[in-house]
Amino acid sequence: MDFCILFMGALCGGNMKGLTKLIQVKFLILKNPITGLNKVFESRIRLGVMSILMVNEEVNFNDLKQMLEVTDGNLATHLVNLEENGFIKIHKGFVGKKTNTTYTITKTGEKAFTDHITALESMIKGVK
């Protein structure tokens, strides 16, 4: 990284202002754990869904709804968002004649979630 900065500095043609800015950027990348925070988890509901799926193998729509205290439509939107990000998997099944949709977490989702937690933890340590 240092090499990179020197290289960029050389490119800037010895422009010291540009170089300081680059060093600041580097400092930010290293020191600021906000970079590890995941935008997807900014929503309380999406974060809740992920927390629940981390500790439960498989959860159905109604249980998620009950635990998160949200409306059907609201929850559905967030679930679609999480699926599009590849964080959860949707399984459509039946209990008798009623549809029973269940959700599981994916490997990508697990990774993103633990990274998010690590980032939160380092933010707390950084403050102290």
Binding site: S51, Q66, M67
Partner: protein, 214 residues
Amino acid sequence: MLELNQQNQPLQELRDIKKMMERSSRFISLSGLSGIAAGICGLAGAAIAAEILDNYYGHYELKGGYDSQDFSDLKNRLLLLAILVFMVAFTSSFLFTWRKARKQNIPLWNMTSRKLFWNMLIPLSAGAVFIYAMLRMDDWIYVAPSCLIFYGLALVNASKYTFTDVRFLGYGQILLGLVNMFFIGKGLYFWAAGFGFLHIVYGGIMWWKYERAD
């Protein structure tokens, strides 16, 4: 949730995550007072049973022998007592847990209580059939230890879905049941110790640990 202070935000978020994980994987509304209530019912039941048995043996000595009418009365009375004690114990424990769930604003019948219920029910039903089969053969000497052992196994199994402390109550019941197998005829004492005393101790500890603050 609405913590706007920048410094507290990540901490609050981690707390929310932890809370959600706990709430979704374990039934945390089980009240220690439920344990105490069940224990008191157990002790009261054991005391009444001892009284009934005393009465029976009193008659036995008066008549100077076995009377089939007296014996069938005894069996009916004890069975009725067992059902009554179970119902009162269940209702009173249910009330305290219902109250705690309402305070925590958690529905009583949710994903976690459902899991807890089924995991408790499986060893208990196996035990019920087992004991019924023994009674059918008039083999009553292992009834008391079997109740304790199967109840203990159910608790150990169910502890995965509620406070882990329940596991120790389960170990206690299993141990009492096993020891009771070698002290046939002392079933009532072991019942009083397991269903009465252990429940009260466990309930007291749970209350002290988790509910004293509220």
